[in-house]
Amino acid sequence: MSAVLVGAPGATAKSINPASSGVFYCADICKYHQGKVEYSSTKINYVSWWGSTASGSCDPSNDVVKWRLQGVSVFNDYTDVKLYGWGPQSWQTNCQIVYDENPPWAWSLYTGINRPSDASSHYWWQFYSSGSGGYYWTGYLRLDF
């Protein structure tokens, strides 16, 4: 059975650490957004993300018709220094819903920064729902590693 990806803003916790590179943690409606970090013992190599719309046959109960990554930042959690930042992405309108652990990582950026002992990567997404005149809403994901 494929896992359903769900979550909510404000619910991430440092106690929930991904065990290894490639494990992601959903902090909002991660049916439609996901992220991951690829790193070695000394370097943070890539920050990657994925997103999706949900309109039409993808998810008839939802009217999300466009999305974008507003920004991604990597922090040294010990010093609170921002090590890397990028964004925003242009608006995307693809319609892909993947309910498993291996979505296509359509967007990936090489950072090449040194990896501190305690770091986190933060993603912010924006979505637009065409329902009832149109609404924007936000997605957020935090990865500790």
Binding site: M1, A3, V4, L5, V6, G7, A8, P9, G10, A11, T12, A13, K14, S15, I16, F24, Y25, C26, A27, D28, I29, P60, S61, N62, D63, V64, Q70, G71, F75, D80, K82, D100, E101, W124, Q126, F127, S129, G131, S132, G133, G134, Y135, Y136, W137, T138, G139, Y140
Partner: protein
């Protein structure tokens, strides 16, 4: 709707007004007919709710208790009251201030829209309030309080008339909607290993 034909004063008092009231009640009530129901949040209301995130392997994360005061899109305030180790996550939005989101311990919350922008004016606080379309009451996957007694329990717990509640089941996902407020009161994924709902309203009060 057929046009109303006015035929006189007594007709209006004796027939038309009760007829119009009846039509209004029918329109506001769940319809066991074909078609779908469009749901969007109808403010103002204040609610407290518990969020329990769920990972792809069905492991559940730390819960947070939150309070949302919702007046309209782009005019709401969300506070994390308790739970979720070191979370303190917040979102705030208004047409004047724009939208910010982040953790209190961070020095630079993300500015997600420009103050006063159209985007800010139409910002919703979270995925749980995104406008949705569900099948009409009486359709497959839709249950009322007669078919699902959990709706009666939820109605009693939140002091809500259960006849305005429906449960929509789609795959592993179960969502209880309040048709009057246009929002979910409960979202649950019956995946293995997940015992708590990902979204559960614990109290709600309509009005500002």
């Amino acid at each position: 709707m057929r046009p109303f034909i006015r035929k006189g004063r007594y007709f209006a008092i004796g027939v038309a007004i009760p007829l119009l009231l009846g039509v209004a009640l029918i329109v506001a009530s769940p319809q066991p007919s074909s078609g779908s129901v469009s749901l969007r949040p109808v403010g103002p209301f204040t609610m407290r709710f518990i969020l329990t995130p769920q990972q792809v392997n069905s492991t559940q994360g730390a819960s947070t208790l939150n309070e949302l005061t919702f007046r309209a899109a782009g005019d709401w305030h969300l506070t994390v009251l308790d739970g979720g180790e070191e979370t303190g996550y917040f979102e705030d939005a208004s047409p004047e201030r724009g939208v910010v989101a982040g953790y209190a311990e961070w020095n630079e919350p993300a500015m997600l829209s420009e103050p006063g922008s159209e985007e800010a004016a139409r910002m919703l606080p979270g995925w749980y309030l995104v406008p949705r379309t569900i099948p009409a009451p009486g359709s497959v996957g839709i249950a009322g309080p007669d078919e699902d007694h959990e709706l009666i329990d939820i109605g009693e717990r939140l002091s809500i008339d259960p006849t305005r509640l429906v449960k929509f089941t789609s795959g592993d996902e179960e969502t209880v909607y309040d048709l009057n407020l246009g929002i979910p009161l409960l979202i649950r994924y019956r995946s293995e290993g997940a015992s708590r709902p990902v979204f559960e309203v614990t109290s709600i009060r309509a009005g500002s």
